[in-house]
Amino acid sequence: MKETIRIGCGAGFSGDRLEPAIILAQQGQLDYLVLECLAERTIALAQKRKRQNPALGYDPLLERRIECLLPHLLANNVRLITNMGAANPLAAAEVIVSIAKRLGLNITIAVVTGDDIFGLLTGHEISLETSKPLREAGPLISANAYLGADAILPALATSASIIITGRVADPSLFVAPLVHEFGWSLDEADRIGQATVIGHLLECAGQLTGGYFADPGKKDIPDMAHLGHPFADVSTDGTAIFGKVAGTGGTLNVATAKEQLLYEVMDPSRYMTPDVVADFTKVSLEEIGPNQVKATGGQGQSRPNTLKVSVGYNAGFVGEGEISYAGSNALGRAKLAGSIIQERLQNQFTDLRIDFMGSTSVHRTSFGEHPDQYEIRLRVAGKAATFEQASLVGEEVEALYTNGPAGGGGARKYVHEVVGIVSTFLGRDRINPQVTLFQS
């Protein structure tokens, strides 16, 4: 058994850059590379793509990512773990097989399925968000349970060099290889709590190395155009030392690690995953060298008996329209335009929002005193049950050209279909993860 395992994270969301993962696979001296590419929203959208075409529903960047990474992964003996399977991990494996064949490479791919539990859903389950039955949210279109490290372990026990999953809790992608390599038990709550701290710090990739951190003059980060992504050297006792590949941009220090440790965390003493209820309140972060942070002290209590399920539903359509005003009294003219739209549409939309971009659009208010802006963009958004109704918003805004205040320009209109997300819990005994092997 190795004394230390190095795990890198090469993507923190579906749209992440490709280059940092390639650098990690090439020069990172990794044992494992994880690509975390699935958000609450992403899986429901992937389910929609799968319904339109049963061969799709996996991550849109899958082909590009695998094509660049595969030769480096095999040359350097790095195993890849990723949730890029999204709504269709089996189809994702077929795509990887065809890429490997084209490149003349022999590989085994393990697919973890079982997260799609739409068939088990009655619609009477209670939504965590509304405390009402799920079916009241709208027509249900998808349901994916967050699987844990236990679902990935059988895949790691095979010879597969690529493990591809659908919905898995983000930290579990990192907990699984640690448990597999070190022979830890999933019942050792403190160990799994520390493994979850490691996974949570790594899962957003660049957010640990200075991405989403910089504020010029206040929090400066060097060479962000070439931001590198992080890895962790984890010892058998769970101590983790985080670092990044020499020569890449960014910074990894205690401040970047603190922001990431608390990112999207509700109660820091009870961070719930399928593997453990982790406790972050004793975590210690220590800078032990340039771009080197040591993390210890993660704890936990035994894993929950239920798994969280993300449920997608059809939430109708959103229509948007925008138009700009600039120069003297730009805000005054934009406000007049907004009031015209308000009067024309208020009886047809229960939920209509009017923003003055450049003034109050982002925080609905502006904190403190700020001088008037030179330019203002009016933005109107409204929810509707049908595409046609939603289109009215943009049409009315466009009509401001000849029916509204002076000097409006650059009108744009958009309509998009909305997938809503609600959540519920399901007993873990009702969920049966499976592993399927593919060979190229």
Partner: protein, 105 residues
């Protein structure tokens, strides 16, 4: 003297459904007692009175040191159905840092 939180701390926002999380991390650990004293859950609720419709809970993390705020009903319904520009509420960390406090304990 009145100072802005921006002068002494940094923050990152996160989202879970319609719930917003905001960290508040002092640049200098010695400012932790000051923010504990001044940046209470009720002070933050008042600061965000136009945005956050639900309860705000504060968690203390002396081990980092840092504070964490969990704000319910803060994201106009959540990332997929909100009509706002910033549907994740990612920019709201800077709305928290706009808050002013008296810098004497």
């Amino acid at each position: 003297m009145t100072i802005k939180l921006y002068d002494i701390a940094h923050s990152r926002a996160g989202d879970k459904g319609n719930t917003l999380t905001l960290s508040l991390i002092p640049y200098k650990p010695e400012d932790y007692p000051l923010i504990c004293e001044k940046v209470t859950a009720s002070a933050v609720s008042y600061h965000f009175r136009d945005l956050v419709l639900g309860e705000i809970t504060r968690y203390e993390l002396p081990n980092l040191p840092a504070l964490q705020f969990v704000c319910q009903q803060a994201l106009s319904g959540g990332v997929t159905t909100s009509l706002t520009i910033d549907t994740h509420g990612k920019s709201l960390s800077y709305a928290l840092l706009e808050m002013s406090i008296d810098n004497e304990l």
